[in-house]
């Protein structure tokens, strides 16, 4: 079969890797019959509605009965909520009334009722919205699935499957996990929805937020779910399947038994030690990074503390969390990046105008400088967590000196306040900026006067250099990091950095693929930060590579004009080395 492999990026829901054949449950407008009924059908429709509810409640009760005490404690409450909503008198009366007054079938009535609830919620506090309305949405979808007779008994499946669906209720997820479903991809659902929480407690790799996925993927297509990186690969190549199988094995090994990693060395075949750091999105990943022998945290993203929250986290809450992480890693370094939101990812408790071009709009440091209290609170929390001397501050999306000096003033202000409050912090805390906007490349020497280190954000840099949206599936190939322009840009950056003599860390996804790693090492980069799951894979790779060979290879590549040619050469190099 020569189907083309495609990669989709979604939201990370639950870590882990799953490889298998897809089972697609879809319920689009196409699959659901919505129609007007005649008055004498009112009874039939109301009956259908009540039976569907009864069926789901019975099944939920059955599932609760099957649970062991641990599951009952963790998952039980979510199933109870689902049951309670379905048996809610107001809900039942609403649907029945819509059936008889609007003269519509019960599918239509159910959707109308949920639409009303969702509107009501939307008109109110925005913050709670995400989790709550996706929870309701998943219950609506479940009802529609049951009504359409499309709820499938997948207990007949005889190999491991990945469930692709619009949405899922916690009860369904639990049920399918007991069958042969090993991974989940959904179109909707935030990280804090009930289903997401249940997926994590069941250790089922899951991603969400991939639009139209039920229309693109067919049942029995090959699929890989990479829950660590929020990625779904449709029709993966044999190489991708191989790569992910080994990732899966190393991850399972490492998470099963706590391997002693003190003797851990990331050393190349010709004896060069590479520094490997972890990119952390959620506090729960910290233990994994530690057990994998990471040299520190190269990028601690802090968006987790702000998104899907009813209000901004307090200084105390942030401090406690940052401090716990810093203590766990001590004496290794922990680089904390200040809030990088904007565009679509604005926290619910902040109101901001919709922007026409959010990627180039008020995000990251631009957002923080406009929300000074929020920013000052975070800076204070980071400073307080630095009292051991192993915490660094990283500022995202700096594009010009003014933003940097303004930030430095705020950091100074935070230090002054903390001194007055008699709170401990590291007065010499190191400050770095993300190098992800091309303007910084041209002002690197100026910036260097103010900062201690740079972090190369390859994801955004490639977007801005190539003017492509990485989220756009059609343009995915154009967003590759091994095109001639990117490689040359990376070379220019490295040469400048060497003159400045300040450290640079690579923390984009570029540090996660074999070909890209070869290029980075060949160019001279020695500090790489990556998702914890990629660390064992890197360890396998680095053992086989001669750095001096990679360096001569890159000297050749840098002259090449075609990306295809570069890719070929890189692939051949990696084959020869292993």
């Amino acid at each position: 079969m020569t189907t083309h492999s495609k990669t989709f990026r979604g939201i990370k829901i639950s870590a882990g890797i799953a490889i298998g054949k897809a089972v697609v449950f879809s319920h689009t407008s196409r699959d659901i019959t919505r129609r007007i009924i005649s008055p004498d059908e009112i009874y039939i429709e109301k009956d259908r509605f009540i039976s569907a509810i009864k069926l789901i409640i019975d099944q939920t009760d059955y599932l609760i009965g099957q649970m062991n005490p641990k599951e009952l404690k963790k998952i039980g409450p979510h199933l109870h909520v689902q049951k309670m909503i379905l048996s809610d008198l107001r809900f039942i009366e609403d649907v029945k009334r819509i059936i008889s007054t609007d003269l519509v079938n019960c599918e239509t009535a159910v959707s109308k009722a949920f639409e009303k609830y969702s509107k009501l919620l939307h008109s109110k506090e925005k913050a709670l919205l995400n989790a709550k309305s996706t929870d309701l949405k998943s219950i609506e979808f479940l009802l529609l699935r049951v009504l359409s007779g499309k709820i499938k008994d997948i207990s007949l499946l005889n190999e491991e499957h990945i469930l692709i669906t619009n949405d899922l209720t916690p009860a369904e997820l639990y049920y399918y996990s007991k069958q042969k479903v090993v991974g989940i991809a959904t179109e909707t659902g935030g990280r804090n929805s009930h289903t997401s929480i249940v997926a994590r407690s069941l250790n089922i790799p899951a991603v969400s937020g991939i639009q139209n996925i039920t229309q693109i993927i067919n049942t029995m297509d090959n699929v890989i779910i990479d829950g660590h990186n929020g990625i779904l690969i449709h029709n993966p190549s044999n190489k991708q399947i191989q790569d992910y199988s080994s990732k899966k094995v190393s991850f399972c090994l490492l998470s099963d038994k706590k391997v002693d990693k003190t003797e851990h060395m990331f050393v190349s075949k010709d004896g060069q030690r590479i520094n490997i750091y972890a990119n952390i999105d959620f506090p729960e990943e910290v233990e994994t990074a530690l057990s994998l022998g990471a040299d520190g945290i190269g990028l601690l993203r802090t968006e987790f503390y702000f998104i899907e929250r009813p209000r901004a986290p307090s200084e105390e809450e942030q401090f406690k969390s940052y401090d716990t992480i810093a203590a766990k890693f001590y004496p290794k370094e922990v680089t904390i990046r200040t809030l990088d939101v904007g565009g679509e990812k604005i926290p619910g408790f902040i109101s901001q105008h919709k922007e026409e071009n959010p990627a180039l709009g008020i995000r990251a440091i631009r957002f923080c400088l406009r929300n000074k209290n929020l920013f000052l609170t975070q800076i204070k929390a980071i400073l307080r967590a630095s009292h051991r001397g192993n915490v660094k501050i990283l500022i995202p999306m700096i594009s010009k000196i003014d933003e940097l000096t303004e930030t430095i003033n705020i950091i100074q202000e935070a230090k002054d306040i903390l001194t007055k409050e008699n709170k401990k912090f590291d007065p010499n805390i190191k400050l770095g900026i993300m190098l992800e906007i091309p303007s910084v490349i041209f002002t690197l020497e100026d910036m260097a006067e103010y900062v201690d280190f740079f972090s190369l954000g390859t994801n955004d840099l490639v977007q801005f250099i190539m003017a492509v949206d990485r989220g756009n599936i059609e343009l995915f190939d154009s967003a590759s990091s091994t095109n001639p322009a990117m490689i040359r840009v990376l070379k220019i950056i490295f040469e400048k950095i060497q003159k400045i003599n300040k450290p640079i860390y690579v923390c984009g996804e570029m540090a996660a693929e074999d070909e890209n790693i070869t290029v980075l090492l060949g160019l001279g980069y020695r500090n790489l930060s990556m998702s914890p799951v990629n660390i064992p894979l890197f360890e396998n790779l680095i053992r086989k590579i001669h750095i001096h060979k990679a360096e001569s290879l890159v000297n050749e590549i840098i002259k090449m004009k075609s990306e295809k040619e570069i890719k070929m050469i890189l692939e051949r190099f990696l084959n020869e080395e292993s």
Binding site: M84, D88, F91, Y117, E125, L128, D135, L136, P310
Partner: protein, 104 residues
């Protein structure tokens, strides 16, 4: 805050209690908290209404409570009427005081 109407009702038993309570848990009346509130309310025969932001919901209906969208710090008025009103108010207060058993 507590208004207590202990005057004997025609049936000789009913009591009406009104009390405003402040939500202390981080997520406010989200689904699991709402479910806990409904579970508590359902243990009593008293009629329990809650008022917040000019809206009223039956404390025994999760949908109604969810639609109130009450966040952390929201002041919610409970109107409880029935023979076990005192006991019901006591348990609801405790539930809210304990932040619905949520970890912080």
């Amino acid at each position: 805050m507590l208004e207590c109407d202990d005057s004997p009702k025609p049936d000789g038993s009913s009591k009406k209690l009104i009390k405003t309570l402040t939500l202390k848990n981080q997520l406010g009346l989200h689904a699991r908290a709402a479910a806990a509130l409904v579970n508590t309310a359902n243990k009593f025969v008293s009629d329990i209404q809650i008022h917040y932001n000019n809206e009223t919901a039956n404390c025994k209906s999760i949908m109604g409570i969810l639609m109130l969208s009450a966040p952390l710090g929201a002041e919610i008025q409970f109107v409880i009427e029935g023979e076990d009103a005192h006991q019901a108010l006591h348990e609801i207060e405790r539930l809210i005081e304990n932040k619905f058993g949520e970890p912080e």
